[in-house]
């Protein structure tokens, strides 16, 4: 009920997916930031 009834080890695939998500966020942040500011005055 409280979310910790059974011990459930973190699978490697879970770590990988989170890592991919954060790496993608970092790359996109750079791209979107540049695009957003480069096109502001257009």
């Amino acid at each position: 009920m409280s979310g910790e009834e059974k011990v459930e080890p973190i699978l490697p695939v879970e770590k990988k997916l989170v890592a991919i998500s954060l790496i993608l966020a970092a790359i996109l942040m750079g791209v979107l930031y540049v695009v957003a500011w480069a096109t502001l005055g257009v």
Binding site: S2, E4, E14, L17, A36
Partner: protein, 497 residues
């Protein structure tokens, strides 16, 4: 809604989401009749900032100057209760209980909203403030906070009465109707903006949301897992706290096949803490982000986890900043627009995110052989009221644009041509403000702090609290800053020209 082989069209009249769209559009089109010379909403009770309560409320239009304010309120009650009852019957809610609850919520909201217009609380004009000697300068939107407070007091101290009202305390329905009507407000303003600036503004909203999804979810999920939550709890909690509260938690729980009580517990946490944020964050933003109004607006959209509380916070920040800092007067409505922009994109992407999670769970985490994920789920999760918001914005922008074009190059002629459109929009906007106020009271009414005392949820509550106040709101702030700092200079310049 997806069912079996295709689409179940009964969603069009069974779902709250669709009804928000229908009712919003109906009010919008009836309001537009003003342009054709039919003053349909001129009777609306308009509250001025008052010192003498006897002259505080007048009909919105001079055509109805003969109407007693009490009668205006009665008409508003009858019109809204009839419109909402159509939806209530279609959705098979309990009509009697709805009308009974709605009547009290209406009265409570109207009194608190009216009280918020007291000059000592609301007046912003420096000359009038000097005459009064003192004012909190919160604009009439202060009434929204009193509405919230009234709801919270009833919910937490008069539980029997709160339960009686609960059938009509529907913040998500009210705020969705308000957002559909907000599109009209945006529509009349966007024609004044250069297309490039508008596109850039929208791009920033999308960018902020893409970043929020990717960073929030991953971090919230892995932290919750490291602190001992199972996948069944961690995934809906990550969605609830990082995306759009209740609907995201429910969508994720469905995707990973969590037990029914999991999204229910997380949804109640989301609702309670969104109300806590609503009371605190708008003031923090207005005080500490005085030089960055759009960052403040975007931050409310990214940090507050229900549609109702987020839009409500945006409205308060908008009112506070325009009231406290006169240089932001041209931005009136745009701080709220920024909150709604980010929140709408969050809502739009819930379907996409639910689809991605379904793919990840089916193919990688749980590896369910033979199971396929249908792309139709994206449409199923798409918030339909967003279509109403876009429709009212595009229709009014197109009509206003055409009127300006027809008026020729003369600026005075253009202003004259736009006048009926602006007045129609102003009457429609009265309804938008009304549904906003109803949202605040309803949020208060469904926020029961007693929920937090339930045994066994201590750890979940602790993790939610730490994630929300220690991680989510700060990352939301950083993203808002990255994409919205200094943008207000460009917007003010365009709006003032």
């Amino acid at each position: 809604m997806a069912s079996g082989k295709g689409i179940d069209w009964s969603s069009l009249y069974k779902k709250e989401d669709w009804w928000a769209l229908w009712l919003g559009l109906l009010i919008f089109f009836i309001g537009l009749l003003y342009i054709a010379g039919v003053n349909t909403f001129g009777w609306f009770p308009k509250i001025g900032i008052w010192v003498d309560p006897a002259v505080s409320v007048t009909p919105a239009s001079k055509d109805y100057a003969w109407l007693h304010p009490i009668l205006s309120y009665v008409i508003l009650y009858v019109v809204t209760v009839v419109l909402l009852s159509i939806a209530v019957v279609a959705m098979k809610w309990n009509l009697k209980r709805f009308i009974a609850g709605y009547t009290f919520i209406y009265i409570i909201t109207m009194i608190t909203y009216w009280f918020g217009h007291w000059a000592y609380i609301a007046e912003t004009d420096p000359k009038k403030v000097e005459q009064l000697g003192f004012s909190l300068r919160m604009t009439g939107e202060a009434g929204l906070l009193f509405a919230l407070l009234a709801g919270l007091i009833i919910s937490n101290f008069f539980r029997g009465f709160a339960n009686f009202l609960r059938d009509a305390a529907k913040p998500e329905l009210y705020i969705k109707i308000a957002i559909v009507l907000l599109g009209a407000k945006l529509g009349i303003d966007v024609v004044r903006l250069p297309v490039g600036l508008l596109a850039n503004y929208v791009l920033r909203g999308v960018a902020a949301i893409v970043e929020a999804y990717l960073i929030y979810w991953g971090l919230a999920y892995i932290i919750a897992r490291k602190w001992g939550l199972t996948r069944e709890w961690a995934a809906p909690l990550a969605s609830g706290i990082s995306i759009c509260g209740v609907s995201a938690a429910i969508a994720t729980a469905a995707v990973i096949r969590a037990r029914p009580h999991v999204p229910a517990v997380i949804a109640s946490l989301v609702v309670v803490f969104a109300a806590v944020e609503l009371v605190i964050l708008p003031f923090v933003a207005a005080i500490f982000l005085a030089h960055q109004p759009l960052v403040a607006g975007a931050w409310m959209g990214l940090a507050i986890k229900t549609d109702g509380a987020a839009a409500a916070s945006g409205a308060i920040v908008d009112a506070l900043m325009v009231g406290w800092y006169p240089e932001y007067a041209p931005l009136k409505g745009w701080i709220l627009n920024t909150t709604v922009l980010t929140k709408l994109f969050i809502d739009i992407f819930i379907g996409v995110w639910a689809f991605i999670l379904a793919v990840v769970w089916v193919y990688w985490i749980e590896r369910r052989p033979g199971e396929k994920v249908r792309k139709l789920e994206i449409w199923f999760r798409f918030p339909k009221f967003v279509l109403g918001f876009m429709a009212t914005m595009i229709i009014l922008a197109a009509m206003t644009g055409a009127a300006i074009a027809a008026a020729g190059a003369d600026v005075a002629a253009q202003r004259e041509a736009v006048k009926p459109y602006r007045e129609a929009q102003s009457l429609i906007d009265d309804f938008r403000k009304f549904f906003f106020a109803m949202t605040f009271t309803s949020i208060g009414l469904i926020t029961d702090f007693g929920t937090l005392k339930r045994e066994g949820f201590g750890k979940i509550i602790a993790i939610y609290l730490i994630l929300l106040f220690g991680v989510i709101i700060w990352i939301g702030f950083a993203i808002s800053w990255l994409f919205f700092h200094d943008v207000h200079h460009y917007l003010i310049k365009a709006l003032a020209s």
